[in-house]
């Protein structure tokens, strides 16, 4: 017995992959796919704001906005760097590759295509089994949300509400049609009032919000002075959201990433 235990190939710290993730969403899914214990062994660097699970805060945090430090990443001696097509600059990714570092670039996260996205990440991480489980959790979560939404309609609730999501106070930044949050709202039977705008995070005027008169206003708490933003809407008593007292401050951590936490947060909202 002792013989077999010692003869089994035990992965030493030196042979473990050294992974760097360049968006909080990728870090979160990496943990989901590899499992927390394994991921914490393999991750040597994560981008700033990677805070879920909380243990990620102990890993070297890399500032990536507006650009990341290539030297800092190289100093971590990573064997795999996972970047994002829409969140990281292509010229910086190219520089990493010129340093002969292994860089994989993930496509933008799409709410309706997350299973494929998760399986692709799992492939990069060489953990197909973990990927299948994580993708299943996602599709089950979506199915649950849709059931909940259908139940709400059958119970006589509003079939669809117009929602305005505010990401930043001044200028007012919202989510447009290219954001996964627009698709997420559709999944729960609601509608983003700025889904017709092509950008992911467009700037809009306050007057445009008044014109589109949303039923609900969601303020993501990443915005500075969230309470100030909430108060700034309250004086517009003609707004349906104000009249119905439907201005909510939501955790940006839950809503800024297309992760399982988003599904849970959406379930709680309805």
């Amino acid at each position: 017995m002792v013989f077999w235990a010692t003869a089994l190939p035990v992965a030493s710290a030196a042979s473990l992959p050294r992974i760097v993730t360049l968006t909080p969403g990728i870090a979160e899914w990496t943990v989901e796919i590899l499992g927390k214990a394994q991921a914490l062994k393999e991750l040597v660097g994560v981008s700033e704001y990677s805070n879920y699970p909380p243990e990620l805060k102990k890993i070297a945090a890399l500032s990536v906005v507006p650009r990341f430090s290539i030297e800092r990443i190289a100093s971590l001696k990573p064997t795999l760097i996972i970047a994002s097509e829409d969140a990281n600059r292509p010229e910086q990714v190219e520089k990493l590759r010129r340093l002969r570092l292994h860089v994989e670039v993930m496509p933008p996260e799409k709410f309706n295509g997350m299973e494929a996205w998760v399986r692709k990440l799992a492939g990069i991480l060489n953990a197909p089994q973990g990927g299948r489980i994580a993708a299943k959790k996602w599709s089950d979560g979506i199915a649950e949300l849709k059931r909940q939404s259908a139940h709400r309609v059958s119970e006589g609730g509003h079939p669809s509400e117009q929602v305005f999501i505010q990401v930043q106070g001044s200028p007012i930044v919202t989510v447009g049609g290219a954001s996964f949050l627009s698709e997420a709202l559709q999944a729960i039977g609601d509608h983003n009032i700025f889904s017709d705008l092509k950008e992911a995070y467009p700037k809009v005027s306050r007057e445009a919000v008044l014109k589109r008169n949303p039923d609900r206003i969601w303020i993501l708490d990443a915005a500075a002075s969230t309470e100030e933003i909430r108060e700034s809407w309250k004086k517009f008593s003609g707004l349906k959201a104000v009249a119905k007292d439907q201005i909510e401050v939501l955790s940006a951590d839950d809503f800024a990433r297309c992760s399982l936490r988003l599904l849970n947060a959406l379930k709680r909202l309805h």
């Binding site: 507006p66 930043q168 106070g169 809009v204 005027s205 007057e207 445009a208 008044l210 589109r212």
Partner: protein
Amino acid sequence: MKKKYWLAGLALLAAVAISLFLRLDFSNAALILRELRLPRALIAIGVGSALAVSGAVMQTVLSNPLAEPYTLGIASGAAFGAAIATTFGWKISFFGLNAGAVVGALAVLVLLLKLVVRGQGRQSDSMILLGIMLSLTCASGLAIWMALADPLGVQSINFWLLGDLSRVGLSTALALLGLSLVISGYFWFFSRKLDAFLFGEDWVEGFGVSYRQTQRIAILLISILVGFCVSAVGMIGFVGLIIPHLVRRHLRTSLHFHLIPLCFLWGAVALTLGDALAHSVSEPRELPVGALTSLVGAPVFIALFIRRRRGEI
């Protein structure tokens, strides 16, 4: 002359009407007018008039037709001053306007004058070149400040720097308009002193006007006015350059008794119309009004620069 005032007054009324009613959603009109469009129209009048009058007075007391808060780096100095004051939590404010901006504007203007006195004199283009250098220095300081700032706040800072009239409330708009009226009124009241500068530096004292004292007071008042304007709405370029030149052409005189009030009115017209365009042309988005004024102002600046080189102005 009365006709010119009537024309400017009517143009201002028309500009305000456009700003208030262009593409207005009439189902929610009272609310939008009271809370959004009226403060915007008032701040546009306040800032437009302040910048145009500041430009006219600067061109006179510095004897340089290309002088204005933007080209001489005063606006950049004000923005940098406001940024530093915000970072270090120096909360000296006047109706929500940041006094750090006034200190920044004043510092740049005083430094510029010191450098020019040691250099080739006020008449030369060295003042503009030094102004541009100071502006670049302040812009670099701002860039460093932004690099160190919270990334989520950078977009907000960027939008403010490009000129944004949407964030100002009614009390701030009224305060700035009042300040613009008082300081412009002061310049108008002492317009004869300013007229003495038209005869050149050597002749000013001959009219019984103290060159240094008049210039210093003018610089201090302009710094206060421009500093508060920048703190409220960011950097809005070239209004202070174009309007005084257009008004002088229109008036066919540079005498300040008429130049100051007409610059006040036409500056207000220009920015009110510019802002109406900024908030309605690309709805539901909003354009930064400072970018629009610079788009129009930069070619005019080049044209004036060429004419000045040829000795035409």
